[in-house]
Amino acid sequence: MPSHPARATADTAAHPSPLSGASERPVLEVDGIWKKFGDHDVLVDVSLSVRRGQTVCILGPSGSGKSTLLRCVNWLERPDHGHIYLSGQRIGFRQKSELPMSQAELAPIRARIGMVFQHFNLWPHLTVLGNLIEAPIFVQRRPREEVIAEAEALLEKIDLREKRDVYPARLSGGQKQRVAIARALAMRPSVLLFDEATSALDPELMGEVLVVMEELAKDGMTMVVVTHEMGFARDAADEIVFLDRGRVVEVSPPDKFFDVPKTERARQFLQRYGSSLRTGLRDVRASEARQ
């Protein structure tokens, strides 16, 4: 392996979440992940860790490898080197051997990692409720009545109870994304990954999704959020991981990152994307949601 800059891990930043004890093993550890597509280095020795209840926002220019990083976490993409640990359990390789896990072995681990996609990826042949209960029933094999009751409570929480029996095609983008979040939550995941969950939405629909995400963060959900919404990152993140050309360039608490970025690359990035610090707009949304 070529030499690399010192590993920046979220652990090195003194910014513990109030929910997590210092001695507890992080929920998610990404340890020295490398990924190439062809001869293009997409991820170069990426490490980070996320403690229980923490929200870590991953920022970075387009093409910097943010999606690939999230997809490596649940092994939708197989990293070339490095390890991922979920609550201390290594993903992708069998214990005590370098033999890769089969799909059947990966599946129950993936079930503990929720993922929310840019384009929602709802299943169009299932109703809203059907989307929520599908995996809890068929993957986790939990009792149907219990799963339905929990799904209905989730729909209540995202304010979509009346859409229970509607097919996704009939929902707005913002509603679809809230359903997709509820679908992930229905699995009671240990960590939730968001890949630009609001990027495909019209600006007026972003708010309703960001509000749900913010509430989850506040409720102590462990989250890794790739986003271009700087306002959200500043308000909701416990930690910012700045990715550039596949490398972790900076790990800082949000106030530090946005006010006094450590690196030149981060400064350039903030100049370009900082305009989406829609603080004013977001405050309006937040107060709307509180009412």
Binding site: L76, R110, M115, F117, W123, P124
Partner: protein, 215 residues
């Protein structure tokens, strides 16, 4: 044409329908299995299936039936006309069905599969719960079209000595020196059989729509 002649035409129709049905009942799922083998991206398997499909699609059913019936005994596998007919019909239709299923699988959005994988579905579960309930609907018209083509090419199996509708009509025409009535009757019978299949498609669609349907 005597009543007996009509009866033998009807018998021919029964042969055509039952052999075609057997071919369809085996050939449709077999086509799906072949399509999944190509979709699996296991290189050797995918290439073997691709080769099978292109050879089978280029082989006329008559030639295939003759090959199965006369060549298999040559390599020590004696085969009767009916099994030979079933084997050749099934091999032929499975190749075409494979292409129909494959088109639907290729068009299936990866994103939906990502979502299924991310919630912990194994490939098999994702196929059963997410992929199949959507692709059957897309594939059904193509599959039924292939069924009607199969019925219309089924007279080819007469070469191994099976008396289907067309073969029965030829016989009657040769005996009575009046080819028109038996062939008109044969035409009507094919029409009814194909109509039956198309009707069946509609009711299957309605039934499955009620079961898995989505707006």
């Amino acid at each position: 044409m005597t009543a007996y002649d009509y009866l033998s035409l009807l018998q021919g129709a029964a042969v055509t329908v039952s052999l075609s049905l057997v071919g369809i009942i085996i050939g449709v799922p077999l086509g799906l299995v072949l399509a999944l083998a190509r979709w699996s991206e296991v290189p050797a398997l995918a290439r073997a299936v691709a080769a099978y499909v292109s050879v089978l699609r280029a082989t006329p059913l008559v030639t295939l039936a003759l090959l199965v019936f006369f060549a298999l005994p040559n390599v020590g596998v004696p085969i009767d006309p009916v099994p030979a007919a079933i084997v050749s019909i099934t091999m032929n239709t499975a190749a075409f069905n494979c292409e129909i299923w494959r088109a639907a699988l290729n068009d299936f959005p990866r994103t939906q599969l990502d979502a299924a994988t991310a919630v912990g579905m194994t490939p098999g579960l994702a196929f059963r719960r997410i992929v199949f309930p959507q692709i059957w609907r897309i594939s059904l018209p193509g599959l039924v079209n292939e069924m009607t083509l199969l019925i219309k090419s089924s007279p080819a199996i007469a070469v191994v000595g099976i008396v289907d509708i067309t073969r029965a009509a030829v016989r009657i025409g040769a005996q009575t020196y009046e080819p028109l009535p038996p062939f008109l009757t044969a035409t009507a019978l094919y029409f009814l059989v194909v109509l039956g299949f198309v009707r069946a498609q509609r009711s299957i669609e309605v039934h499955l729509d009620r079961k898995f349907g989505f707006a």
